[in-house]
Subunit: 345 residues, 4 copies
Amino acid sequence: MSAKINVGVIGATGYTGSELVRLLHHHPLAQITAITSESRAGEKFSQVHSAFEGICDLPLIKSDDLNTNNIDVLFFALPHGVSMKFAEKFYGTKPIIDFSGDYRLDSSKTYTDWYGKEHTFTTPFKDAAYGLPELFASKLKDSPLIANPGCFPTGASLALAPLIQHNKVDAQNIIVDAKTGVTGAGIKASAVNMFSNVNDNFKAYGIKKHRHTVEMELNMERLTGQKAIVQFTPHLLPVDRGILTTAYLKPTGSITEKEVIELYREFYNNQPFVRLRNSAPEIKQVRGTNYVDIYATHDVRTGNIIVVSAIDNLVKGAAGQAVHNMNIKFDFKETKGLNIVPLQP
Amino acid sequence: MSAKINVGVIGATGYTGSELVRLLHHHPLAQITAITSESRAGEKFSQVHSAFEGICDLPLIKSDDLNTNNIDVLFFALPHGVSMKFAEKFYGTKPIIDFSGDYRLDSSKTYTDWYGKEHTFTTPFKDAAYGLPELFASKLKDSPLIANPGCFPTGASLALAPLIQHNKVDAQNIIVDAKTGVTGAGIKASAVNMFSNVNDNFKAYGIKKHRHTVEMELNMERLTGQKAIVQFTPHLLPVDRGILTTAYLKPTGSITEKEVIELYREFYNNQPFVRLRNSAPEIKQVRGTNYVDIYATHDVRTGNIIVVSAIDNLVKGAAGQAVHNMNIKFDFKETKGLNIVPLQP
Amino acid sequence: MSAKINVGVIGATGYTGSELVRLLHHHPLAQITAITSESRAGEKFSQVHSAFEGICDLPLIKSDDLNTNNIDVLFFALPHGVSMKFAEKFYGTKPIIDFSGDYRLDSSKTYTDWYGKEHTFTTPFKDAAYGLPELFASKLKDSPLIANPGCFPTGASLALAPLIQHNKVDAQNIIVDAKTGVTGAGIKASAVNMFSNVNDNFKAYGIKKHRHTVEMELNMERLTGQKAIVQFTPHLLPVDRGILTTAYLKPTGSITEKEVIELYREFYNNQPFVRLRNSAPEIKQVRGTNYVDIYATHDVRTGNIIVVSAIDNLVKGAAGQAVHNMNIKFDFKETKGLNIVPLQP
Amino acid sequence: MSAKINVGVIGATGYTGSELVRLLHHHPLAQITAITSESRAGEKFSQVHSAFEGICDLPLIKSDDLNTNNIDVLFFALPHGVSMKFAEKFYGTKPIIDFSGDYRLDSSKTYTDWYGKEHTFTTPFKDAAYGLPELFASKLKDSPLIANPGCFPTGASLALAPLIQHNKVDAQNIIVDAKTGVTGAGIKASAVNMFSNVNDNFKAYGIKKHRHTVEMELNMERLTGQKAIVQFTPHLLPVDRGILTTAYLKPTGSITEKEVIELYREFYNNQPFVRLRNSAPEIKQVRGTNYVDIYATHDVRTGNIIVVSAIDNLVKGAAGQAVHNMNIKFDFKETKGLNIVPLQP
């Protein structure tokens, strides 16, 4: 028991916050010491997330009342634009794992270009690590702030990385057609996430301008040092959670189905959360888990390569990847607390 | 009343058959005279489709008992491989509007290549008309058999046609990422359409080999006389009906957003079922109707053109388009019986 | 054409308003002349309800700008508490069909008891007619204001009426367990109708205190002149529309299954929208229509009678019943504009 | 490791079988040693349940090839009528926990009355224990066969027990209106569980004759020694899993809300899987868990008591309760392997 690290959760009224609490509740080497909420302080966590009644009844406190002395790591389960304020407050005191988009990009300028607002606390950019462990693990252990990846970039980058890194496909002609569950839009009620606007419906949104586009491009550039261009189109599924990504790629030279498969096998060898599939994956088969299921195939008729990946946007695309990052940072086995069987059906 | 034409429906136990009966029930110039079913003959139509109780209680008869003398047009609401048998029986007696894939392609050889079976009655190929009125209306009136298009090719071809016909994009580099409701898989219970395999789930299927691929390619070739290559990936949505098609195209030369929009406006001028949208369409906004909603846009950042279309696979993608074809054949106003308001929500 | 009556729709940003426009669009003897909205005046109807683009693009106007001279009937598609304000403005000028709960009950006192607010315009109570045509048709033609019934009371009252009116069951021991689609909660986004709170979920709500309880009790009392007691429990279904009502009743004397069935057959003889079913009804089989499907059965083992009814809450439970009331008021055939085939699937 | 007991799973192609494997995978004191399937023997478990790829890839074997020497307990994840055949084979060799209805009732005669078939192996009836631990724990430890309760009787009996056992309500006038997810209908594809027959739909079924009726009545009689009569009506929800039970009861004497609440608090004191709620429960708040959430209330206006309970039919209603029974039988802490946070959303 005494071996457990103490975790502080900053902001826990959203879906990624509750998912983080769900995962940490089962973690054998970590325990939640404090949960903050500016808007709901004074209430129990289980009053905000009623499913947790009897499971996590911790009181929510104001972040000003958080004593970081007995905290080993802080998770920021916050939206973009908000994290930077708390980073200003806590940066340097304790390791931070940040769920927002505030420190995922390469500079505050890029941030402003795509997020349309000024960045008010840029210090962490220099040392922040981008927390996609299968691709960029080296900086995670020592960085004071881990920027947890966006949900779409996680699914897309893991689908694309083997081919891009080995220059097997044209990095400037990447098409990413992704489909996400509704929780990606957050917990605040709006026309976007109303049942009758989502049920029996399906649509594209954010065409040409979704913020995750640049994050995907930067990830590909991190792999090769060369500019990447991604045409990214997200769509809204009538499901709670899950992202299916279908990517279309142009080979730079001749390549066979067998070579594609072998490339992925080698690239993701020993990665505990990557499942390479023999047929197209389904989002329900990763539901509630940190798995990414990937299927890559070459079409001899058209010459294209098609890659499909499936993740749970709240786990591998958010809270699960954050716990994975925590495990790496604290030298825990990568799968600690994340050995979860999909809830199917 | 006496002015109504008499319709015979061959095969009515499936979804497209019941949808056809729904539409014809409201049609001011047509009436259903007979409905056949080999498997359920002797029962009422409303025993097979219980929602029709008190609305259409016609007895189902064997096709051998069908008297075509008092029939003006036959609809084949049949799957591929079955239609050809009934075509052998009825071809030349009365005009046929066929829902199957048996006469959509350019030859029995192409049929065998993609459908994997021999064609047993090839006579109609010579004179069959492909019934996508917005693109290929000329032969409809005089042809003895109208091959009603596939659902995916309908949504995709209407999305692509203006750009392809005017050679504005590379016809050999077309990506069609489509998402369909479950009714596209038919009414027979199987693992594919079980609730718990579909609900909260999403997946790609038929990657690289779906039969509708060649139908799309042939449609594009009909427009230009030149070979087209389509990378088509269908996906299965947890909804009953609706197809959203997202297409990615490479311009052959410089083009502006405004030119793209203008091109579509001119191309579909006066088409009563095409709604050009200012933002990405949604499948629920065409539910139950014969509309196709289309949105086309150019991405100056990437150079790509993205086109999104939405149809109801059972209406515009099947029974509604069939009624549209009937209207044209009998010189009715195109919208007769098809002036339907979407059921939303 | 000139024979059409002119309809004014007061308030059209909600679901019942858009459903009313959907139904009137098809009506052969009525046309919408004006639609008002205080909050969205100046926009087109199709900007509020995007599915109507190209179908109904009427401009929304302020109610102050409504010229009632060329209007034959006013529909109030408004929530309770708001209708009374517009009633004050328009009462007596033109016939009103009011969707709200403001004039459904027997007095302003009962209203205040159950709706928890003062009634500010009580004049119409004296002459208002309760618009459930199968049960209370006599006053509809001459009343200046028809109070269109609540959705739950419609489904429940039609299920109960034959047995209650003939004193076959204990009117003071009625259990109504009802399940509704989400549109019953209105179009305003809130935690109640968020996708992720409704999808895969199911719950009871408003136990012991739902306002529709008293409306059901009053309806039963209108039939017999005696006090009725209803235990009403609504539940929220993960569907857009539809109410299934399961009622449990205690026979006052011995009764057989056959007698129950015969009672319903006689009671609803010639009612065009009542379908008596031989097995338990399903909400999808009435979707989009004005039908009420009813199944009544006696359990010899327990002695209870169970009645199940299915309606579409937006049609039979709101806009369709309102059009039915209009048809009666204007001596149109009852089914005019309401001959709709269910959208199934 | 060596402390783990060895579990044999007989029949694992259904939902309750896969759910059992999900739960046992996480169990710290049990491990799955063998899984049998007559129809899929030779394949891996993960070929039948693809979500388990990389998680449980055990080969399925024929039950004839099962070596029970190194097995400590057998789970029968089988339907009724099949379990009795395997009971004949394995009864007495090792403890059995049976998911079917074959040994839940008080005699083979009652079984034949309600299940409509002869019982072919009646020996276990004498010593079988009914495995609903919160109500009937005493026989579990020593019985050679535990009959795991039906899903509906679990939700209903736990809702009713406190009031029935204390004779606070009329045991011969119990109304149980229950609503279940689709997985209750099993994994075999049929019209009943097809997506398009379930999605957007809702219906009652099995009215007056569902087999779980007698199981509920027997449970109530076990508590009081007196005959009980239950009017049970199940309904089918468009969700995968979950049962919400709404029960209506008539008090035998005067009772207050406070007394009702206190009665439930005392009755379920220290029961780790019972959560008494202050408002109506929701099925999604117990999803994936062994919890039963209960809310009981008295309506002073009508005199009735209403009790609502929520369970996950595959966990508390099947596999979770089975693991709970195993824990009791082997003197493990009751919650071992069952400390699960609901998957919400």
